[in-house]
Symmetry: C2
Subunit: 355 residues, 2 copies
């Protein structure tokens, strides 16, 4: 947040103008009034172009630094269960968390369209601040650009996160082994379904909310109970199908999923049936796929069930040998009659701008 | 770069489609073919959603971590002297470097418009790779989103950088003291002038190129020669005027600049005269303002002159007491006849989408 301390104020109403991205007094007022206050940054620190940390956050022998970034372009900006700000914070926290890292700090870069309502921006920034606080992470540096009306659709946010990765923690999408079990922490497809309904094209009246949530508390609880988690990934774009096909291929196994065991909300299942969508491919923003050794499955489930974000956790399948007739990277969905179908990697997301 | 190893190929021609941002096979092909190859990332590492570093990069007692982010929305995407990719790498490297940090790694998040030519993306990514190599920094993690035609204008890139900040290095915009001298490393306003001409609205035929460059080699040479640099800042949006007004206010001094000493290319000066622009406010992308104690000025200049990016370095002014009649934060430009005018902080950038 490069700004000096003088607060000139931008008022409560109004809209974003090109000057708010111009590096001058208007931008400084925006940063002081909207960002620094919400994120609780010290203006004297914020006027530097970089955040600085003592490395005492990384004290244990063998600790490593984890580093991840995501751009968020969701449409609409606000939807039941969250907004682009909650997505931006939770998404990046989750990318760190599923690798076993403890999130330390985030940066946030905003691309604003001229004409965006300041009230909208304030709400989104307040969501980011609240999510960050809840996840125990600070937003420490940022940037703001404004593009003319028509050059960008409202508001894009890119968050980047750094975290500490303890020695010996080497969770990898290639870490699954034959015999391991596959667990998800709750109902699938809620985010995708919520966005679909929020777009309003369908004139459907549903109570489906996005599952958007920061998973670092849950992953920590899981790792405390089962230090040898083999693989973990949040199931965002491409859904659980996307994660499982990557896992199957990277780990060199076949993933067998039992359709009966997939936790799906009845209203999400109904929406999928109505529209011919597959909940396995719908995006989630507060769901992870964890692969653990079979003997740790009960411990993993117990740890998840004890956490508010894992109450509906369930074992959904297992990792098996690649059959003689099979291809590396196959995911097989077994239905209640014992029939099987191959779940393929999606070509693209069913809904553009899902996150 | 979250992708698995299978390379399906996207061909040489073609355009970006929504599927390229959907988290499926199309996105994986884009990442494999365009990003990983250019950035030299290991596909096995790239398929994780985070980059991981040993902290052996931060070994000296007291080392800190520096962390900075910037979004780039420049228009046009390509211009004489660079493109949005060179800006994205140099801009973030420079934000680290002017704080005294040594850049270690960058992340890059891309927002692509449906319909963007793949050839354009390939050129931009090649520029990023070349700049990163030249600056000695690696692009280690990333993200790609695609928005429908009309929701974004071509291509936006957000880069985030981490670096090591040695113990005792506390360069700050508030660090200037009365008597210090103000140095710039070369001609002012080249980037702003180049973008203005590249937009083509003026039908001017000039040879002005952007000064876009990574300054970490230069800042390192300067800090080796003058460890007690007081303040340093790259003069991007808002130009040198923006930096000096922030410096004057944060440091509690008056900045006196001598007009005669400002290094300005004759063609940039001519363009400014023609259009009524002030080169002090024009954006730079390879220029920094450094404040050093008066007794270190010669050493600082010698170190800069010996570096290819500092050949035209010049002392342009000094820091003085705030006069009884003055206001905290004044920057005064003294012309060749001894007349003075106050340089105010710009309200906004003269040219939107300059970076």
């Amino acid at each position: 947040m490069n700004t000096a301390g003088r607060i000139t104020g931008i008022g409560q109403g109004g809209h974003i103008t090109l000057a708010h991205g111009g590096g001058g007094t208007a931008m400084r007022a925006l940063i002081d009034d909207v960002f620094l206050q919400a994120f609780g940054n010290d203006p004297a620190v914020a006027q530097e172009d970089q955040a600085r940390f003592p490395l005492s956050r990384f004290t244990a022998e063998g600790d490593r630094l984890a580093f991840t970034t995501d751009a968020f372009v969701v449409e609409p900006l606000e939807f039941p269960g969250g907004d682009i700000g909650t997505l931006a914070v939770c998404g990046t926290v989750n990318d760190l968390a599923v690798g076993g890292a403890r999130p330390v700090a985030l940066s946030a870069a905003f691309i604003l369209a001229e004409g965006l309502e300041l009230a909208t921006l304030r709400r989104v920034v307040a969501s980011m601040a609240a999510c960050a606080r809840a996840a125990g992470v600070r937003i420490v540096t940022g940037d703001t650009k404004v593009v003319p009306r028509g050059a960008c659709d409202g508001l894009f946010i890119t968050t980047t996160g750094i975290g500490t990765l303890p020695a010996g923690c080497d969770i990898s999408i290639a870490g699954g082994r034959v015999g391991d079990v596959v667990i998800v922490n709750g109902t699938l497809g809620d985010h995708g379904a919520a966005i679909l309904c929020a777009r309003g094209d369908l004139a459907l009246d549903t109570a489906i909310e996005s599952d958007c949530a920061a998973l670092n508390g849950l992953t920590q609880a899981l790792l405390d109970a089962v230090p040898d988690v083999r693989a973990m990934r949040d199931a965002t774009r491409g859904g659980v199908a996307g994660v499982l096909t990557e896992l199957a291929e990277a780990s060199g196994v076949t993933v067998r999923i039992e359709e009966d065991r997939l936790p799906i909300r009845p209203d999400v299942a109904g929406l999928c049936e109505l529209l011919g969508l597959d909940p396995l491919y719908l995006a989630n923003e507060g769901k992870l796929v964890a692969v653990v050794p079979a003997e740790a499955a009960e411990r993993a489930l117990a740890a998840m069930h004890a956490h508010p974000l894992g109450r509906n956790a369930a074992v959904i399948g297992t990792l098996a040998e690649i059959p003689a007739s099979g291809r590396r990277g196959d995911v097989r969905l077994v239905n209640r009659l014992g029939g099987q179908r191959v779940v393929t990697m999606p070509m693209g997301e069913q809904l553009p701008r899902i996150c």
